[in-house]
């Protein structure tokens, strides 16, 4: 039974009368008021997450020097950017290492600076060095350029992230006898610690598990800027295993997000260095969920104790893709700081910041209450029937 439409919600937002709660506040609110009453009252629930999202980056346009250069290879602060597009457009990726970074030659590498850090400096308004080369053409004769710039000097700085906001995520442990340096941090031998990475009950796609409101075209709060979902995220795999209330108990859905970096808040765009693994970018994303009906509201009341994450051994099962899961733990268990896996006490670490996610959800809530952020109806829904294909290693000759 529909309760309200996008148009009605936006009209209420514009007149600053919308009732907006965060995905944490709504749990207690529905407990107190009952689902039916709460659904009549609440217009929007804001969700959010903050954590490393490696598949992030941005397109930058530098404008033209005099004389012009096309730029066939370029580096920002010695981090290489992709130039295989039009003149003076580049794509800067979060995980790109700095030129001459020894990576893991001296294992484990420190990875102090890379693409994610360049993006952090850019959003913070700091000065960066551009160095670019070209082969020279009749209309773009310059073959080399070195200059300094800030984000204000750029024509465009548009973040384009192919895979953000993983619906759920693996919990990593190490069952081997040597330390492992992974994208989920240092995993000590013999399962001494584990790492999870999700905002749990605040996380966007865990509050809309069947993508009933979050789709292509949905407006999002991307590190403070007005952005939107431009496509399904890469590796979007909705046909995963699901638990009660259709909540995925493994990776599942992802979102591709875009937004204008000139409007972003530096606090929510942070370079990441993972020892022995590489560099990345942590970012804050907030997504509003319109309460179109009771069922949508009910799904936003999901709690940490109802969301299960798979515990995977990153010493062998993950790298070899065996698919083995040691056990499943709820986010409520994980947040206690110590859990039991295979009869063993394991200390818990996290790469997702609940504090920052809470702040993002609250900032978005306040923007909507003040009438500054309108919701948008998706132009098309996210796919619900595809699964993740593996990469087969084949011979050249087709069989």
């Amino acid at each position: 039974m529909p309760i309200r439409t996008y148009e009605e919600i936006n009209a209420r937002i514009e007149s600053k009368k919308a009732v907006v709660l965060t995905a944490e506040e709504v749990i207690e609110y529905v407990d107190r008021k009952g689902l039916e009453q709460a659904a009549r009252e609440v217009d929007v629930v804001t969700t959010a997450t903050f954590g490393p999202m490696c598949s992030s980056g941005c397109f930058l346009n530098f404008g033209h020097s005099k004389p012009r250069i096309r730029m066939t290879e370029a580096w920002i602060d010695d981090v290489e950017v992709y130039c295989g597009i039009a003149a003076v457009d580049v794509y800067l990726g979060a995980t790109q290492l700095r030129q001459n970074d020894p990576a893991n030659l001296d294992y484990p590498g420190e990875f102090r600076y890379g693409g994610g850090h360049v993006i952090e400096k850019l959003v913070a308004g700091e000065r960066l060095q551009l160095f670019a080369l070209s082969y020279g053409t009749d209309e773009y004769p310059r073959r080399e350029i070195r200059t300094y710039f800030t984000i204000k000097d750029l024509n465009q700085a548009i973040m384009v992230n192919p895979r953000n906001c993983y619906q759920n995520y693996n919990v990593a442990v190490n069952g081997s006898e040597r330390p492992l340096y992974t994208y989920l941090g240092l995993l000590k031998p013999n399962m001494q610690n584990l790492t999870y990475c999700s905002a749990g009950q605040l996380s966007p796609l865990l509050n809309d598990p069947l993508y009933e409101t979050i789709g292509i075209g949905t407006s999002v709060w991307l590190a403070g800027a007005r952005g939107h979902v431009y496509a399904e995220g890469t590796q979007h795999a909705p046909t995963c295993a699901r638990g009660p209330r259709d909540v995925p108990i493994e990776g599942a859905g992802t979102l591709a997000l875009t937004g204008n970096m000139k409007d972003m808040k530096p606090k929510f765009i942070r370079g990441v260095s993972l020892i022995g693994y590489g560099v990345s970018l942590a970012l804050g994303v907030g997504i509003p969920i319109p309460i179109l009906n009771q069922e949508i509201l009910r799904r936003t009341t999901v709690r940490d104790r109802d969301i299960l994450a798979p515990v995977v051994d990153y010493s062998s099962d993950y790298p070899n893709r065996t698919g083995k899961i040691l056990c499943r733990l709820s986010y409520a268990d994980l947040r206690r700081g110590e859990v039991t896996v295979l009869g063993r006490k394991v200390e818990v670490g996290s790469l997702s910041s609940y504090e920052m996610a809470l702040e993002a959800a609250s900032l978005l809530r306040d923007e909507i209450r003040r009438g500054e952020f309108l919701l948008s109806r998706p132009s098309s829904p996210l796919p619900r029937s595809q699964s993740l294909k593996p990469l087969e290693i084949r011979d050249r000759k087709r069989k």
Partner: protein
């Protein structure tokens, strides 16, 4: 009485014979544990000072006149609250729980330097470079 203190010398102050004056003018017994004094660079001294309470106080006041930071915490590890994103990756790596959750509701992190043993594993493991060490 004996007091353990840390002196942090900014670049310009390292040439002055501060320890000499503590001994000579304030009757203090000095026992240095850790020191870094490099010309043209910052430096530090971690030391025990023994003497009367009054002499120690006068001695430390004298040191402060040189634009030297005097700290009674002798831990060189610092945690930058601005850089910390409160992700919690440090928690299982801090053996003494000096880095700990201040508020279970938001999972905000705090650093209790009195518990720090300077194992430096937070320096290696913090993805955001929030922890650093003077030493």
């Amino acid at each position: 009485m004996t007091k353990k203190v840390l002196f942090y010398f900014p670049k310009s102050e390292t040439e002055k014979p501060i320890v000499y004056h503590l001994v000579k003018d304030y009757n203090l017994i000095i026992n240095i544990f850790r020191a870094k004094v490099t010309p043209e660079e910052y430096g530090y001294l971690v030391l025990d000072v023994t003497g009367t309470e009054q002499d120690i106080q006068r001695g430390l006041d004298f040191v402060k006149t040189f634009n030297v930071d005097v700290s009674e915490s002798t831990i060189g590890v610092t945690w930058n609250a601005e850089k910390c994103t409160h992700c919690g990756n440090c928690l299982p790596h801090c053996p003494t729980r000096a880095l700990t959750i201040a508020d279970p509701g938001t999972r905000r992190i705090e650093f209790k330097s009195s518990l720090c043993v300077e194992c430096l594993s937070c320096l290696e493991n913090c993805p955001f470079g929030a922890c650093s060490s003077l030493f």
